[in-house]
Symmetry: C2
Subunit: 302 residues, 2 copies
């Protein structure tokens, strides 16, 4: 039996996270050629290409995405291991472990979580995005996460007793780099037809709503990439590779941070955000703060 080389896997994982070899080389304090070579070795030993070149960047292949999911868990466990051994098992300051669906935009998550820090007592928030929503819900049952923030309620697909609390909902806005946006703004949404489009990953609620809406209008954009991670989608979009969608509540941040323009809105494509917990009545004070603030401040006017 031949063992997987975990160092190679670490490099692969870091490259996937950072989106580039150069980025990873900085994180790892290594020269870029080193990483390039080691990833090649990993691909050889696995017998599968993990990355494909897209322009001057790398994107994961299907096999790469599979490997990444596992790698994510492996290295998350590794960190837990050293944490556990260094004694910080149950940190004394109030701890809030949040599982986050990776389709959610980071800036929105940050706004959701912000109130947790303002509840009077010191609190340490641990954000995890290294599992799927279903897996997080299973971890909810094991009390390894306190709350899961997702783009839909806990489905009946998995038999865990969990309760979904609506944080708020809004429509969807479509964005593109300035050049592309200029040609698209007129005749929206018809202009989306045939346009390069950055699609959210398959098993998400946004994706379903989007598919439905596009189908109903008979619009068929050209899907040039499917991205599980919404941050990745916006990075692609910023580079002018295509149109992407994001919740209307964070329009301002998206425009500002990614230098893109809004080309149109679809109120019918509802995006919902839920906090999922084990208890029907939330007890964790930080989670209570998060839920209340979301309903009042973030979605209060919209």
């Amino acid at each position: 039996m031949e063992w997987l080389n975990y160092h190679h896997l670490l490099y692969f994982w870091m490259v996937a996270r950072e989106g580039s070899i150069v980025g990873a080389s900085k994180q790892l304090h290594l020269a870029h050629p080193t990483i390039s070579g080691q990833i090649r070795r990993l691909e050889e030993s696995l017998g599968e290409k993990l990355f494909a070149r897209r322009g001057r960047n790398l994107v994961m292949t299907d096999a790469g995405r599979v490997a990444f999911r596992y790698a994510d868990q492996i290295f998350s466990l590794g960190r837990e291991l050293v944490d556990a051994l260094e004694g910080r098992v149950g940190g004394r300051p109030l701890r809030l472990v949040v599982g986050i669906a990776d389709v959610l935009p980071p800036s929105l998550v940050r706004r959701f979580l912000d109130p947790a820090f303002r509840i009077g007592q010191p609190v340490q928030v641990i954000c995890r995005a290294d599992r799927s929503v279903d897996e997080f819900i299973a971890e909810l049952a094991l009390h390894r996460v306190d709350v899961v923030i997702a783009d839909g309620p806990a489905g009946s697909g998995i038999p865990v007793r969990a309760f979904s609390h609506l944080l708020g909902e809004c429509g969807t806005s479509f964005f593109a780099a300035p050049r592309l946006a200029a040609t698209m703004r007129r005749r929206f949404p018809r202009s989306l037809d045939g346009t390069p489009f950055l699609m959210p990953g398959a098993p998400s609620a946004v994706r379903r709503a989007l598919d439905q809406w596009l189908g109903a209008q008979g619009i068929r954009p050209t899907v040039i990439a499917e991205l599980d991670d919404s941050a990745l989608a916006r990075d692609f979009g910023r580079e002018g590779m295509g149109v992407f969608a994001a919740p209307s509540v964070i329009e301002a941040e998206v425009r500002r941070d990614h230098h893109v323009r809004v080309i149109g809105r679809a109120a019918a494509v509802r995006q919902q955000f839920y906090a999922i917990s084990v208890e029907r009545k939330i007890k964790h004070p930080a989670v209570i703060a998060v839920c209340e603030a979301a309903r009042k401040d973030i979605f209060g006017g919209g």
Copy 2:
């Protein structure tokens, strides 16, 4: 941030599994001094001793046991990763993934699982013992295991909808190496008082029943080790290190395989065995076979 060396961890894990460096060196096709040295490095980088010498063997320290739990999951994920990438994701022959509580004696598990192979169609059984029972139940919810075999019903501790099917129950027998057994057989169970005893790990049903029974009789053995893994307990016992307990149904195998003698029985210490599944009515044909055979053949007469 300094990264955990996963190769060192692998060696550590293998040594822990095999119980000795020599054993691990055979599995890994490496020289023993290599492993010895690499484990030393791991201990240095972690700042914790993982093994302590007991006679000419190694036993895990508390820190070692913590690390082992994590390592087990890490390498189990690693194997899944390469399996997934080699395309045997959903193997066509009927697959039965069984989660096994590590307090259960392997020989009993083998007898439980035997009928799964005799159901007419080809079946591939994947036994996993790399998580705790609670974790397995959570994985049940994710359909990553089909059934969990445990020494007690699914507790209400974790909010997963799961159903426990009693496979059977029996009393407990106490065993020891011949020499020790000879002095113990008279005046059982009083003779257990002060005797070196190999206790099953804390969070198991057997342990609770045993504690209760000993307490009721006012017997206090000297606990020289607590072993989560029942196979380990019997290995210790075989070497004459102390008395250990096992379910009465497997008396014959234990006597034969470990060259130990029965020193007494306690019918009151009931050991129960459950198959835990997501459905109330079991659908998986192999699981049905397992349950029926257990009730008829294994526990039919006793």
